[in-house]
Amino acid sequence: MKQLPEQLERLVATLETLDRGDRIQMLIELAEQFRPVPPRIAQRPYPAERRVPGCESEAYVWWEPEAKGNLVYYFAVENPQGISAKALASILGSSLSGAALDEVAEVPADIIYRIFGRELSMGKSLGLMGMVNMVCMAARQQMQAVRPEIASSGF
């Protein structure tokens, strides 16, 4: 298994040192820092193909290449009560944007349990894992677009 992108690993490791109460406070602060997709990238109504499957908080994901050929990730969370989805969007957007595509492509979906703890309902888990998976899928697609030989190497 590949290493997590450095910024994500650092953030997750910090969360893991906190007790439940402090972890929740940190995640709430991250949710409060969330900034939705800029109008330059997307405007409502958002297209269905950008919607995260299985996410009941109505999360959407977009991406665009940056100078080095890696991706910048953008999110929208339409459910005003979707605070966990906002926290995760904030984490993924800040820690994976610009990270190496092969590292992003291999972020495991169950990273959500290291972030939120094991006390997630099945529905909430599926939605949050769907957000991670959609970012990974974007990275894989970008790798295939820029380096087609990768497509046959297992990614």
């Binding site: 949710a31 908080s57 966990s84 309902s121 099945m122 998976n133 899928m137």
Partner: protein, 299 residues
């Protein structure tokens, strides 16, 4: 705007309270307000002043096996939130009160009948700009004494559900039409619904839980509208034995609440094993219109 709760023709009006009622009882020592959410961050982000959190996963589930907490753990929970058998527990939460009705259902397994749901849930309270806080209240622990959990009246297990199905008794699948039809919901590489097979229990009718709710404010529809859905369209009768199920039992607890309390069905049970159990059971009968349609097309 919804009618007042007393004007909606419900079979029981004592189990549902308005946001106004809750605001008027914020300091009522006979009332304990409790928030139950799916999102583990919501309560800590803010909540109704004085409200305690009842966390579905940590507080109400057995930590090891798939079951609910037993009597001693339930007593510990109720003592911690400062409740006695005489305390009225008012539940509210996210997702149109899915998790609040789930907690309400569980309170009934322990016979705590003094319980109410706040109509419209958390979102209605927030939209009405009512007071919220991040302060977590502490209450004097009580000596709550609970009876053993009674799983016979309101809970259905898989063998009972199988017999129910074989007897062609009414069953309601409250999931989305796509889940009911067994259509693939997720793109490749995405997690599935936690079940190896899609579709529904043979004979179950699909009545998505959300049909019972007014979309504009999350309140329950009035009794005439609910009867139209459940008794006219779906031919259920209040004297019927009905089983409701969904994926893990949370959405179906919402429908259980509607049928039992708002429409007065006396014999309705929640199959909490739901599709995550049935869809994984070896040789369990399944109807999957989506797969059957694909097979026909391929033939």
């Amino acid at each position: 705007m919804s009618k007042g709760i007393g004007e909606r023709g419900y079979a029981r009006t004592d189990v549902l309270v308005s946001t106004d009622w809750v605001e008027q009882h914020l300091n009522d020592p006979a009332v304990r307000i409790a928030e139950s959410d799916e999102d583990p961050l919501l309560y800590s982000s803010n909540h109704i002043p004085g409200a305690v959190e009842i966390d579905w996963t940590r507080d109400l589930n057995d930590p090891i096996r798939r079951d609910y907490l037993g009597r001693i753990a339930f007593e510990r929970l109720m003592r911690r939130i400062g409740a006695t058998r005489e305390t009225t527990i008012v539940l509210y939460g996210d997702k149109n009160n899915w998790w609040a009705t789930y907690s309400f259902w569980l309170l009934q397994l322990f016979g705590h009948e003094k319980a109410k749901i706040m109509d419209g849930g958390r979102l209605k309270w927030i939209k009405e700009n009512r007071p919220v806080t991040r302060d977590v209240p502490r209450y004097q622990p009580t000596n709550y004494q609970a009876p053993e959990r009674d799983d016979t009246r309101f809970r259905a297990f898989r063998d009972q559900t199988l017999k129910h199905m074989e007897g062609k008794l009414p069953m309601i699948d409250v999931r989305s039409p796509e889940e009911y039809r067994g259509e693939r919901l997720h793109m490749p590489d995405y997690p599935n619904e936690g079940a190896l097979r899609g579709g529904h229990i043979p004979g179950a009718r699909n009545v998505p839980w959300g049909r019972a709710v007014n979309q504009e404010d999350g309140t329950f529809k009035d009794a005439a509208e609910l009867r139209k859905i459940y008794t006219e369209e779906n031919k259920l009768r209040p004297e019927d034995e009905v089983i409701a199920y969904c994926r893990i039992g949370e959405r179906s607890s919402h429908t259980w609440f509607v049928l039992r309390y708002l429409l007065g069905f006396s014999k309705v049970r929640n199959y909490d094993g739901s599709w995550t159990e049935w869809g994984n059971l070896v040789q369990a009968p399944v109807e999957n219109p989506s797969a059957e349609a694909r097979d026909e097309a391929a033939a």
